[in-house]
């Protein structure tokens, strides 16, 4: 019953996110849409909005906002960037030559889109969709606020009702089984078509939207309104209605600094682990690589509190000096969010043809030089997308942060939680705003540096 509802919710949200994520990605990379760079960054930002903040804002805005479909809407607008970011990265590295050939052979723009472009980015979209499905399984914030009973809610109930750690672990095992099911489903969508990355610095032809420009723009604005506008309006209302105020500027700055440093460290550690794993999956596919890759997804579907408590146990018994240090927190982030990065790196590497590396080797370059001058540049958009995903998700992570942070360290997410749990919404609002604003900066930088939002000439 609970499992069925969890799976149904995952299915609905994943389908909606795939459509929304790919659609937005196509609009910002393949059309002459005005303001596409800004839309490109905006579309990544919902990841930095904690689902419980979005949930509070929605229930305050729409009366009677509860139940299955409310949860589905909430989770869709919060998690479509999981598909959007890898899709944009994939679109930016497909060789535009293929699309040109297709068009020159008489195929229309739609036939080319479905026959060529979408086939090229399928691994990235599948990886992103899997992340969405797993995120929905592990989410607690949204489902608890709109009151949908899912497995994760049951796990939290077991923890909160009488410190029932055993019961929570039994339920978690069921969650792991559901994850295995989903991972199996995603594996069957993988095929071994040849894919061609763009090796030349050449930009794709942008479609002229012409009379579709208005509707496309309206659509993107509507999505952003739902994903960012409603939470922003909710925060503004909290700020106006309440008299509680956040701590001093120094406290806010300290929380922001702590959030940035642990999230950056978590992202760095995650990328460090993800790079070899992603390359292994893409370049030496086989049972070992697949098993290693799939293993990382299991932790992702588990609620943060389960991973957090496991790491408490691990550190106290095995690595006591690390306990309650920022390093253990970074390790927790890496454990939770590794698949975000591995998926992005692997799909980027899978898309770049191994023949280029082989050619470089045959020309007498050593393996390290080939890695540095060929493999890394080709996978860079994927690395950037993976890092952006990981960073944004680290910034808002709460349960594991509460359990593992160094004593006395406050992050933006913990401050936000502190204030919302005592109904001091006005004090909470600035932390939420800063959380999203700070998340925007690295996203913008990553987007600009890794070609997530290239400018291109319209031809």
């Amino acid at each position: 019953m609970l499992a069925g509802r969890s799976l149904a919710l995952a299915a609905v949200v994943t389908a909606a996110c795939a459509v929304l994520g790919v659609g937005t990605a196509l609009l910002v990379t393949r059309t002459d849409l005005p303001g596409r760079r800004v839309f490109g960054v905006l579309a990544a930002l919902p990841l930095a909005v904690p689902t419980y903040v979005a949930g509070f804002a929605w229930t305050a805005t729409v009366t009677g906002f509860e139940g299955f479909w409310a949860a589905a809407l909430l989770l869709t607008v919060c998690s479509y960037p999981y598909v959007f970011l890898p899709a944009v990265a994939a679109l930016n590295r497909t060789d535009p030559g293929q699309e040109e050939v297709s068009r020159s052979l008489g195929k229309g723009p739609w036939a080319t889109l479905f026959g060529v472009t979408l086939r090229q980015i399928r691994p990235a979209v599948a990886a992103g969709s899997l992340l969405v499905a797993l995120y929905v399984l592990s989410d607690f914030g949204a489902v608890s606020i709109v009151r949908v009973d899912t497995f994760t809610r049951a796990i939290f109930t077991a923890f909160n009702l009488g410190f029932d750690r055993t019961g929570a672990l039994v339920l978690s095992t069921v969650l792991v089984l559901l994850t295995v099911l989903l991972i199996g489903a995603e594996l069957t969508t993988r095929t071994r078509d040849a894919r061609y990355a763009s090796t030349a610095v050449r930009l794709p032809v942008r479609l002229r939207l012409a009379r579709w420009r208005g509707p496309a723009l309206a659509g993107l604005l509507a999505v952003n309104g739902l994903a960012l506008g409603v939470p922003a309006a909710g925060l503004a209302r909290w700020l106006a209605a309440g008299v509680s105020r956040p701590g001093s500027l120094a406290e806010i700055a300290a929380a922001a600094g702590a959030s940035l440093s642990v999230s950056l460290a978590g992202t760095a550690l995650t990328m460090l682990l993800a790079l070899p794993l992603g390359l292994l999956t893409a370049r030496a596919p086989g049972p070992v690589a697949t098993a290693l890759d799939r293993l990382t997804y299991l932790a992702h579907a588990l609620p943060g509190v389960v991973i957090g408590l496991s790491l408490v146990f691990f550190a106290v018994n095995v690595a006591y000096p690390l306990y309650q240090s920022a390093w253990l927190l970074a390790l927790a982030y890496a454990t939770l969010f590794l698949p975000l990065a591995v998926g992005a790196v692997a799909s980027a590497a899978a898309q770049s043809p191994p023949a280029v590396e082989e050619a470089a080797r045959s020309l007498g370059r050593g393996p390290f030089t080939v890695f540095r001058t060929v493999t890394l540049p080709l996978t860079l958009p994927g690395i950037g997308a993976g890092a952006a995903l990981t960073f944004l998700t680290c910034m808002k992570e709460l349960p594991a942060t509460l359990l593992l942070r160094p004593t006395g360290m406050d992050t933006l997410a913990t401050e936000l939680w502190t204030h919302t749990s005592t109904a001091a919404y006005a004090a909470a609002a600035p932390y939420a705003a800063i959380l999203v604003a700070l998340a925007a900066v690295p996203t913008w930088l990553l987007a600009a540096r890794t070609g997530l939002t290239q400018t291109g000439a319209t031809r």
Binding site: I145, F156, F159, V262, V316, Y320, Q324, L402, T407
Partner: protein, 345 residues
């Protein structure tokens, strides 16, 4: 290309360096009398931080605090066992203190500290002591419910006239403590019958007391089972007195279980039992300054030092609270099962 790569590397390095910088507060357990304490607080930072800052100023003892929910902090303490870096656990309800105490992690407190609090609000074995009290109440919307209609006993809420009107937070610790009290006072059969009756009345389930009180004030719920101070918190956030709110408090009379008074309290971990710094903390929390703070800022009932309750509240002694040993509220597992079986969580 090289430029991009160096940027990525620079970013990574910056992250790692800042991490090392903020990794300074390590988990060194410290020694007794070193003027340093580590406190695990299951009570909210917004409420507890001002008290602990005053304590630091008064005594010169530095306090490192971890904040979390009471149940997660208890789970963390149980997971850490004897190697916990914590000196003290400041919890929101007696049940969590009981669970940690049962695992043998708390030290026995000295009698002169225990005796400052009425026997009802401390552990019989002296392993934790109550700091502030919180009464269960029925919050109601004054436009929808007349005072004469208010139930004398919580058992009346199973009457069909309350159908669809009651707000509950079954996953909230205070609600569970109340159900545990029902089981202690009236036996499992009667408690189960009550929960089943409540479920049949189609209650509106909310995540916590905050949402229940907000919905009662907005008129979307008529009544709700909550702790007494949530109405005061809502008034504080709105910047006014509780008198202007539509949400009002009803204290169940005659020792009805619905009027259970639970305690937020503190226990010292085994190795901090003889630490003068940790004892100073307990002394401070039971002193006039801290007790006055809890009365006027968190609107809870002060349990020591003869401090009166917040204006507008009946005094602690005047409450007709049920006669229950709070130490008996540590059988949460059975309560949980019962709440689940009744279909409420």
């Amino acid at each position: 290309m090289r430029k991009r790569l160096s940027l990525v590397l620079a970013g990574t390095l910056a992250g790692l360096v800042s991490l090392t910088a903020c990794g300074g507060s390590d988990s060194d357990p410290g020694k007794p009398g070193d003027k340093r304490l580590t406190v695990y607080s299951g009570r909210s930072e917004a409420l507890v931080k001002p008290v602990l800052e005053k304590f630091e100023k008064a005594t010169g003892i530095t306090v490192d605090v971890r904040y979390g929910t009471t149940s997660q902090m208890a789970a963390q303490l149980l997971e850490e066992g004897k190697r916990s870096p914590a000196d003290a656990f400041f919890a929101q309800d007696a049940g969590a203190l009981g669970a940690v105490s049962k695992a043998g992690l708390f030290a026995v407190l000295p009698a002169e500290q225990l005796d400052r609090v009425p026997a009802t609000y401390r552990d019989a074995n002296g392993r934790w002591v109550g700091v502030s009290g919180r009464s269960r109440v029925l919050a109601y919307n004054a436009d929808q419910v007349r005072a004469a209609e208010l139930p004398k006993s919580v058992f009346e809420l199973t009457d069909p006239k309350w159908q669809g009107k009651i707000g509950l937070a079954p996953t909230n610790g205070s609600f569970q403590a109340f159900v545990t009290a029902l089981r202690v006072q009236h036996g499992d059969a009667k408690a189960r019958e009550f929960l089943t009756g409540l479920k049949a009345n189609q209650p509106q389930v909310r995540e916590g007391n905050v949402q229940i009180v907000a919905d009662i004030d907005a008129g979307t719920l008529a009544v709700g089972l909550v702790n007494h101070y949530y109405v005061y918190e809502l008034a504080k956030e709105r910047g006014g007195s509780p008198d202007v709110l539509k949400a009002k408090l009803h204290f169940f009379p005659d020792g009805d279980t619905g009027g259970l008074v639970n305690a937020a309290g503190v226990g010292l971990l085994e190795r901090a039992g003889t630490d003068p710094d940790a004892r100073a903390l307990v002394d401070y929390l039971l002193g006039t300054e801290a007790q006055t703070y809890f009365a006027t800022q968190t609107f809870e009932y002060p349990l020591a030092a003869g401090v009166p309750a917040a204006p507008g509240l009946p005094q602690l002694a005047a409450l007709e609270a049920p006669k229950i040993d709070l130490n008996d509220l540590d059988t949460l597992d059975a309560t949980v099962t019962m709440i689940k079986e009744a279909g409420l969580a």
